[in-house]
Amino acid sequence: MAHARLTPRQYLILGLVSLCAPLGDTCLSRGMTGLPEITLAHPTSLFSAVFTPWIALGIALLIGFFASYLTALSWADLTFVLPATASGYVILALSARFFLHEAISPERWAGIVLITIGVSFVARGPSLTERTPARPQPPADLSNAAKEQLR
């Protein structure tokens, strides 16, 4: 399954998917907790929340996430992309540990270990489900046509 191997550029895109999503979520949470309560009686206040700085930054990061996510989904399975990009949570937790000197509880270490094992599981497998009328077809057709021309 040589064609299932990812290129460095594709790894970079998966990396962007991993990092932009948790960072964006963190910004959104920071923005939302600072706001007054939003109720179903005033649903429009949810839309005005979009223009506060933390939420705007969160949305910008999530747009970056979405662009790379769409690119990843165009060449890999959903059930590959989702677990593979969960490593962002691990990177975020470890950077909080080493750069912000936040303590990591044993529970969180267990989470880090489980995600890392899960990611290594999918990363070893094929990134795209093999389908018979898929992309490998054209070169085969071409070579057949070429063979017939030779005959």
């Binding site: 309560e37 939003i38 769409l70 989904l73 165009s74 060449w75 989470g111 489980l114 995600i115 599981f121």
Partner: protein, 135 residues
Amino acid sequence: MIIPFPAPQPGLWAASAMIAAVVLASTAGEVFTAAAMKSIGDIDKIRARSGLRGAVRAILTCPLFFAGVSFLALAFFSLLFALNHMNLSLVAPASASLTLVTNAIAGKIFLKEDVDRRRWAAAVLVCIGVYLLAH
């Protein structure tokens, strides 16, 4: 989402309903988006052939993509709504981890992806891991 939720801290049912809304909407959104991107083909190749504009046009002319985006938008606003009522430490891990498992199921049923034992194991491990890490 017709039930008016109590203001201070939501009860178990209201909390479950908010998380279920996020999970269901994002699963539907991700399945539609994945189906759209598969029908379009490798975006990197399209971009190499007809530039960024060609790639954007290929995505924006795909109806499945809009179905996906609508559900993802619904998931996003239900997440914002839930975050305003509950802590991030509950909403984010619960919805993110459950979505991994519902997506594995939906990916197998609707996208006919080859969810082998390795992918099931990964979905379950990452699901528990995300929950433990973000909780």
